[in-house]
């Protein structure tokens, strides 16, 4: 049993990289090489669906970095995801060229429809892939930087911070619904034709995008792991557990928060950018507060404070959602709501966290410093009475 645990958790990272690599080989193989008539053939639709899950997993990873390790619960990460998506969407719109319904070589259809005469200034440059990719990272990063430096410097913490992140994404939702913002209003950006000269509908393109998403997830994981296993990662956990204590030790807490917040926003932006060509549309509903909170539950289910757990949670919950909505679409909200309640009441550490914490408790010791995995589940609150006392003291 212990060996199995060791195999499973002893080196989660290696396991994850192996799984991602395997998926990058197996899925395209079963889609492109295995004939469609064979039962083990993976449909192109399924490739797109898996690709979408991988993007969600990257979003969950980004969220876990700030929530699991630094205690910053963002209810607005969907905003960074959507901004990255819009940046990619703008590139894809420019690539449509004269193939749009109105045949305008420069203006996207919705602008022609609105009788716009020329491209707004902020649409310039998006016909270059490299510029668009820069924006995918820069725009969410910049928003996160401005928002974060204001919030962290004024020491907005805990639920207050969560609520204003929700307000942030809500404000963006309202803004992007407006036609005169120049992002296609209600309908968003869609009808994409090609990416880097490849037809977005073609099977090979789909597989390339899928593999690119896996690569991004692996890269994102590597970055997050590098952060959380460094001394900086320990500082983040210290901030999460006792912010003031960390401050009195001489750490500039707000700078640490800002750093990890911006990194997280950039990762979310990349996730959004890879998501858009695979689902074929980006519209303001991605900014809806409900979408952001749904992402939080992936992390909670998988196990916050465990990077692999966040990825696992995103895949599990979304897989479950696809399966469940397949036959009971109208009852999905019951299931999702129950997941929220169940996971907070009975699985506060998430799936991975629960397994790991049991291991810690048994051994009562951790591996020596440096060898420990990138895992930092919070110890659970001892009992209800203590929780109440804490509340009374607060």
């Amino acid at each position: 049993m212990n060996d199995l645990r060791k195999l499973l958790f002893g080196n989660l990272s290696t396991g994850l990289y192996a799984v991602l690599l395997a998926a990058a080989i197996v899925v395209p193989f079963f889609n492109l090489v295995v004939p469609a008539s064979w039962p083990i053939h993976i449909s192109t639709f399924m490739v797109g669906l898996l690709g979408k899950y991988i993007c969600y997993a990257l979003l969950a990873l980004a969220l876990d970095l700030v929530w699991g390790y630094c205690g910053i619960l963002s209810l607005g990460h969907g905003a960074f995801f959507a901004l990255g998506g819009y940046a990619m969407g703008m590139y894809l719109m420019r690539m449509i060229g004269p193939r749009g319904v109105y045949g305008d070589p420069i203006l996207p259809d919705f602008m022609v429809f609105l009788n716009w005469k020329e491209l707004p200034w902020y649409w310039h440059g998006f016909d270059h892939f490299s510029f668009a990719m820069l924006m995918v990272v820069l725009v969410p990063g910049l928003l996160a930087f401005v928002f974060g430096s204001l919030a962290f410097r004024s020491r907005v913490t805990g639920v207050y911070f969560s609520i204003i992140t929700q307000a942030m994404t809500f404000a963006l939702l309202l803004a992007f619904f407006r036609n005169d913002m120049g992002f296609g209003g209600n309908n968003g950006l869609t009808d994409f034709k090609e990416i880097l000269g490849l037809d977005v509908q073609k099977e090979t393109t789909r597989n390339i995008l899928f593999v690119a998403s896996l690569a991004a997830l692996a890269g994102g994981y590597a970055i997050c792991r590098a952060i959380v296993t460094s001394k900086l990662g320990k500082v983040l956990i210290a901030v999460r557990d006792a912010e003031n204590r960390t401050r009195f030790l001489g750490y500039r807490v707000e700078r640490y928060k800002l750093f990890v917040w911006v990194v997280s926003a950039c990762l979310a932006g990349i996730a959004g950018a890879l998501y858009v060509p695979q689902v074929g549309i980006i519209n303001p509903s991605e900014f809806a507060p409900a979408s952001s909170i749904e992402a939080v539950i992936w992390v909670a289910i998988g196990g916050r404070g465990t990077l692999v757990g966040a990825i696992l949670g995103a895949l599990l919950v979304n897989g479950f959602k696809s399966w469940f909505t397949g036959f009971l679409p109208e009852l999905w909200l019951f299931a999702l709501g129950a997941l929220f309640i169940f996971s907070t009441l009975f699985l506060p550490q998430g799936i991975l966290g629960a397994l790991l914490y049991r291991r810690q408790k048994k051994g009562a010791t951790l591996p020596p410093p440096g060898e420990a995995d990138a895992i930092a589940p919070e110890p659970p609150v001892e009992d209800e009475q203590q929780a109440k006392l804490q509340r009374a003291g607060a």
Binding site: L73, S162, A167, A171, L333, I341, V381, A387
Partner: protein
């Protein structure tokens, strides 16, 4: 309603005292709905000979003569009808002008009260006539000249109608059309009109005609300008602007001065109207947020299902209305008052249930509470969608909530006013409850010092549950009011949750006065931003403002500064 209440229009009144009078009038009106009968007056007949009973036989004869008469004779007959003083004369003349008066093959005349509706009545008695077919009818023809004179005849008749509401409408029409031909009729009516309010409108109608007329004297025009300046609304303004482009220098000067004065007073009223709309929006926000001020502000529970408590209240209103409509249709006007306690019980009960089954396990873990209650909100939304369907449910407003009245140039609708008063009522009732009841005392004791309260024998568990129930119940009551102005759908709560949090956080957590000031400030700010930023951008600006504000004062407007180090 609108007409019957314009008697409390207070022109040129001091705004504050005007509002006071209006509120008093409103409260009288609400408490005694039966006292809303129109003031009926019977104008003195022109002369005894035209009294209805004086020529009882000649009217049917005149009518049948109408069928064969030429246009000149038709005009004469119409005049005779008008002078007869018969109460049906106005309807007959209007029908003639509209081409809704027909002769039948047997020579009798019928009147079609509504165009395109195949119902016919006897012109003089208004009794329905059956068995009329299209082939049977031929229209009594009129030409343009006749139609014009019929129109002025009808407006003259309505200006002297015994029904005050008809006269008032006619006077307003006369002002709007400022047709020079109706000037004599207006002047006749002006001389006889007993009601000051209508006389004023008639005077304004006269002024509007005189001002535009090429034949009126300079003195008349100057007087007209003064009258219109006093009226001071948008219509008067455009007339005055028109007058400012004429040739007569004295008139132009006076008109320009009047334009400036009207514009500044309109701007002032516009601000007042904005403030009123803002207060109205603010009280909606207040209603939505009061419950949260208890659950979040006092208990510190992040209740994301708060919006769904509002929704439950709104659906309770719908169910109560359905039940009343089915079992006691006569008591429909009571449906809304009954809904208030019903919604409190339903939402409050749901709140207690949620607290006992979920939230009590999560005290001290605010972020988890947030997630769990979000889950609850999803379940409740879906439950309501499964039971009631995804479409909007109709919740009718009681009659006394429709309509409006004017205070100066301020238009006050009863629905908005009711919500403002209701929101204040709920807030003060809650404050009184917390301050003067035993439970309120226990609640405050538990929030201030849980251990000590427990040691004093307060059952803190139950106080927690009931406090949460109270907050949820108040949210349910808010749902009753919001069902009147918003769509009752499963998504109702979602649209209020962020606003509610913003209000509570902005106002300062744990302070009901803060919630009041926060809600009103945000409401008014929203309405003032709307005209030049648009509704959506206005809302975004307010959100951005709050975000910045929270960052400057993380504990809100009215928070107390603490001294303890929470390490």
């Amino acid at each position: 309603m609108k007409v019957s209440l314009s008697k409390i229009r207070i022109a040129k009144a001091n705004a504050a005292s005007g509002l006071l009078v209006a509120l008093l009038a409103f409260s009288v009106f609400v408490s005694t709905p039966s006292a809303r009968a129109d003031t009926v007056y019977t104008p003195e007949p022109d002369n005894a000979a035209t009294a209805p009973q004086a020529q009882p036989t000649s009217l049917p004869a005149l009518l049948s003569e109408l069928v064969e008469a030429d246009y000149d004779r038709k005009a004469e007959i119409a005049n005779l009808l008008a002078e007869s003083g018969n109460p049906r004369a106005l309807a007959i003349i209007e029908a003639l002008a509209d081409g809704l008066l027909f002769s039948r093959a047997d020579g009798t005349v019928v009147l079609q009260p509504q165009e395109n509706v195949q119902v016919y009545v006897d012109p003089l008695t208004a009794a329905p006539v059956s068995g009329v077919t299209d082939a049977d009818l031929s229209k009594i023809e009129v030409n343009n000249r006749l139609r014009r004179s019929l129109r002025s005849l009808s407006s003259r008749l309505s200006l002297t109608s015994p029904d005050a509401s008809v006269r008032r409408a006619a006077a307003a029409d006369a002002f709007a059309s400022h047709d020079e031909e109706s000037l004599p009729a207006i002047e006749t009516a002006l001389a006889k009109e007993p009601e000051a309010g209508i006389r004023k409108v008639l005077g304004e109608a006269r002024a509007s005609i005189l001002l535009q007329s090429e034949t009126s004297s300079e003195a008349d025009k100057l007087a007209a300008i003064e009258t219109l300046r006093e009226r001071g609304d948008q219509d008067a303004l455009s007339l005055l602007i028109g007058a400012a482009t004429t040739d007569d220098k004295a008139v132009v000067d006076a008109a320009n001065k009047a334009v400036a004065s009207v514009q500044s007073s309109l701007a002032y009223w516009n601000q007042l109207q904005n403030i009123y709309y803002g207060l109205s929006l603010g009280s909606v926000l207040l209603l939505a947020a009061i419950g949260l001020a208890i659950t979040f502000g006092v208990m510190g529970v992040i209740n994301m299902a708060h919006g769904e408590m509002i929704m439950l209240g709104a659906y309770t209103t719908f169910v109560v209305q359905q039940l009343v409509a089915t079992y006691a249709p006569g008591a429909m006007s009571w449906a809304l008052p009954i809904s208030v306690p019903a919604a409190f019980i339903v939402a409050g009960g749901a709140g207690v249930l949620i607290e006992r089954s979920i939230i009590r396990f999560l005290y001290g873990r605010p972020l988890e509470t947030l997630l769990a209650t979000w889950g609850v909100s999803l379940v409740l939304q879906q439950a309501v969608r499964s039971v009631f369907g995804p479409t909007n449910k109709p919740v009718s407003a009681p009659a006394w909530m429709s309509g409006s009245f004017d205070v100066g140039h301020l238009s006050i609708t009863f629905s908005r006013l009711t919500i403002i008063i209701f929101a204040m009522g709920v807030l003060f009732a809650l404050m009184a409850f917390l301050k003067y009841t035993h439970f309120g005392l226990q609640m405050r004791a538990v929030t201030q010092n849980r251990k000590m309260a427990s040691a004093m024998g307060v059952r803190t568990n139950w106080v927690d549950a009931l406090t949460f129930g109270l907050g949820s119940g108040v949210a349910g009551i808010a749902g009753v009011a919001l069902s009147q102005i918003d769509n009752v759908s499963p998504n109702l709560g979602q649209s209020y949750i962020i606003d509610s949090f913003m209000v509570v956080v902005f106002g300062g957590v744990g302070n009901l006065w803060g919630t009041l000031v926060g809600a009103m400030t945000l409401g008014v700010a929203n309405k003032f931003l709307e005209p030049f930023a648009g509704a959506v951008v206005g809302k975004i600006l307010v959100l951005v403002f709050i975000i910045l504000f929270i960052q400057r004062r993380p504990r809100g407007l009215f928070a107390l500064k603490g001294r303890s180090v929470e390490a």
